[in-house]
């Protein structure tokens, strides 16, 4: 099916990029519930909006800190044997008699890493945070692919799980869909371990967008710090329960046996309204702590309720800026 979609979307060389995403969707087999036709139409419109927001900028032209074979002058340095003669600044040599080599800023495409938390807590509640995270991930990936960035998608829980290698070009969006559909919300959250594995495997630094509820028993800080300390540019999309909801624990009163949906840790408890109020307040404090940490650490933070349409969230992200540009 994927090959058929690729052909329909114009991945083959003869008609590359000629067809729109919605037109391609109309010719392929029925899509999944997660990325249905409506979703794809919204992606198309998001791509158009992103072009308006970032109008005037050149695609795939981001100055990197590397010095290389770009066109914009950066600096001089002394000639060393082996340097390309073409970059010797003969004007300087004529004036000062010194062999200096012209250095240019290297132009490179941006690497975007979309890290989706695949722990069991992401699948908790209704609507599912995990589904919302996957939609957001797909939308961000599409915007990135449409701007010719290198997009990598990673599933993470207590270890780095599935990985979709870096790809570029919006024709590859169906590969992203396919990858995201294969992900499942299971396992225990251990961001530190999984992100350590991630940074070890990806030497090329870039923007790391973490889509997670950050319910990490070891603490959410350690996982974000792994990205920070390894020169990635982390961005936190905090997947939170639907607005007004209370992690699915509304109305549980009486003698119950609560157990953690990830670890299975059990605890007998008699729940009263007072206990529920306290738990609700503790959840709010936890979310506030995450936001404070991100602010303090200069990590862009954006809460993403599970019941808000993903396109609204993406538009909010784009308008706020700093995610992709």
């Amino acid at each position: 099916m994927l090959n058929a979609l690729k052909r329909a979307f114009g991945v083959d060389r003869r008609g590359a990029g000629k067809k729109t995403l919605a037109a391609a969707a109309g010719q392929r087999a029925p899509s999944s519930l997660l990325f249905d036709d409506e979703f794809q139409r919204k992606l198309e419109s998001l791509a158009l909006v992103s072009r308006r927001v970032f109008a005037g900028r050149m695609r795939a032209e981001r100055r990197s800190k590397k010095q290389g074979s770009g066109v914009e002058f950066a600096d001089h340095r002394a000639y060393a044997p082996g340097d390309d003669f073409r970059f010797v600044d003969w004007n300087v040599y004529q004036r000062f008699g010194r062999l200096l080599v012209r250095l240019y800023e290297e132009e490179e495409d941006l690497s975007i890493y979309l890290i989706v938390d695949c722990s069991a807590s992401m699948g908790f509640g209704s609507p599912s945070k995990f589904d919302q995270a996957r939609r957001l991930c797909a939308a961000l990936a599409y915007v990135g692919l449409a701007n010719l960035d290198r997009v990598t998608v990673v599933g993470a829980s207590d270890h780095q799980g599935a990985l979709m290698p870096a790809t570029r070009g919006k024709n590859r969006i169906f590969k992203v869909f396919h990858f995201l559909e294969q992900l499942e919300a299971s396992g225990v959250t251990d961001l530190q371990t999984s992100l350590k594995t991630f940074v070890a495997q990806h030497k090329r630094r870039g923007l790391a967008i973490l889509l997670s509820d950050l319910y990490d028993p070891a603490g959410f800080e350690s996982g974000i710090n792994v990205l920070r300390y390894n020169k990635f540019e982390p961005y936190v999309l905090h997947m939170v329960e639907p607005q007004g909801s209370f992690a699915g624990q509304e109305g549980i009163v009486g003698d119950i046996n609560v157990y953690d949906c990830e670890t299975g840790e059990e605890r007998e408890v008699t729940v009263t309204e007072q206990v529920l109020r306290n738990v609700r307040q503790a959840h709010q404090e936890y979310d506030a702590a995450i936001q404070r940490f991100c602010t303090r650490s200069h990590v862009p933070y954006f809460p993403a309720p599970a019941d808000v349409p993903f396109d609204e969230l993406v538009l909010g992200l784009l308008r706020r800026g700093g995610v992709l540009y």
């Binding site: 992690a247 624990q249 119950i256 609560v258 157990y259 959840h283």
Partner: protein
Amino acid sequence: MHLAGYPLSALLGVFGAAALGAVLLYILKLRRRPVPVVFSPIWRRVLGDRESSKLFSRLKRWLSLLLQLALLALLTLALGDPRMGAATSDSRHVVVLIDASASMLASDVVPSRLDKAREAATGFLTGLGSNDRMLIAQMDANVTPLSTMTDDVGALELGLEQLRASDTRADLSRGLSFALDSLRGRSHPEIIVISDGAFPESATRHVPSLAGVQLSFVPVGNDAQNVAITAFSVRRYPLDRSRYEVMLEVFNTNDAPAEVELSMFGDGQLVQTGHLSLAAKERRAQFFPNLAGADRTLEALIELPAGQDHLARDNRAYALMPERRRTRVLVVTPGNTYLEAALLLDEYLEVTSVVPGAPLPEGRFDVTILDGGNVVTPEPRLGGLLYLDVPASGGPVGHRKAIEDFGFDRWDEKSGILRWIAPENIQVTKGHALAPEPRDQIVGSSELGPILVAGRRSGQSFVALGFDPRQSDLVLRVAWPLFILNSINHFVEEDTGYISSFRTGDVWQVPAPGPGALGWVTEPDGSRHRVAIKEGRAAYAGIHAGFYELAVDASDRPPTRFAANLSDLDESQIAPQKKLALGGSEAGEATGFSARSRHQIWGYLVLAVLAVSAIEWLTYHRRVTV
């Protein structure tokens, strides 16, 4: 205080077992409802403060256990039915006899006398002392206890609900005997009769001795307007069995004349209506001849203007006519016009004629008529054998001598063969005096010897006539076809006489339709009852008027149907009596049944249980005891 229910040892056992179960349930950990949470560290942080109160929580659980044990103790004590005061040795024992005869269905009090009697008995229940015990019995033709001798008001009320009137008269003597037997050896015996007092004088004269027993009478009923059917019979005409005659007797028990509308239903269809004007206290028997339109059942119904008849049960009567079926008759004759003419009179005869010496036809016959001195080899398939001028040899009886100019000088008036015949008028020219065997029945004889004999040979019935009818004036008389048809009926046992119905309340001896030891009686309402059959009859005491059926197990014969009627002059005279005099002494009024408290503590104990349960429920939801 004493225990009227289970003894203390039993209660302790029950409480011990129940308490052990409750404690075990409390010791065992309660299975709680599992609820998943998204991030348990948050719950751990919130609930950490409550750990300190765990000990107090356990104490509250023990408090809940103590409450449960208290509830169990109260319930167990309630099982013992504790009573204040002395034991039951001084208690009264009361037998309440409620008249359930047909007259108790009179509607002179609304809704009926029986319901009033039930109300009166209910009043006694509410006034029953805590140590008193009562037995309630229904009294009609039989005595049916509706409860045991108990102080359980609920059981007594349940028994009262089962009270049903029957279509019988009340047997007061039997009821009193039952009550005396029930009270024998008990302290403070009392009998309360709740009735309209419409007992026959003979019933109140012959009663058992009531010495030492307090007898009370509670009268019910106000008025006594009633017209009743007291007799109802039907018979078929012998020569035309499709028609029948009905005898109906109606009794006006009122002191005023009554205009009665009569309806008769044959097989459920209206076949006759009529109007009767009855004088005060008149009892009139009326015949309705030459009726047609019914084949099996006949039902009579009288109706009066409103207010002139308070008892509807005796306004209906039921009767059954004998079942009609075709009788197969084989005639061996060289030709006999008189015989053929007589056999034509009954359309239900299926006649086959053969000449003497010809092969007999196949099949079974009910009757074989041998005319002109002919004989056949007796076979069971030939049925009963009627010999006209039986020969000296080859027949069942021989000739004693030849005789001339004779007639019937003696005859058996009870024999059906000569029914509706005047034999003294018959003159015979010549014939033979017969020589019957010792067990034969001489139906008719002249001075010269027997001339008409009936009997059995090898299980086969016969009737032998000692002369040729054509040698007499018998064939010229109406008696001739009657004789032939009577003889046929004698063999097929089809009765054309009056069919009397059974009277409700009596023990009926019902002829069984076939051989067997057990059968079923189906009542008019469709209910079935097992009956034993002895010597071909089933004994059954029916108490409802209507049509019954008796079927025999393992018999392919159709069931016997019969009718039952109230037909009781005494029971139809429903004038209520305010006093009851038995054996010269008068029954008093029932006393000592004031509506006071029964002082039964178990009810309060159960209330206490409910109160404690309510308190625990409330505290549970307020999280006080858990």
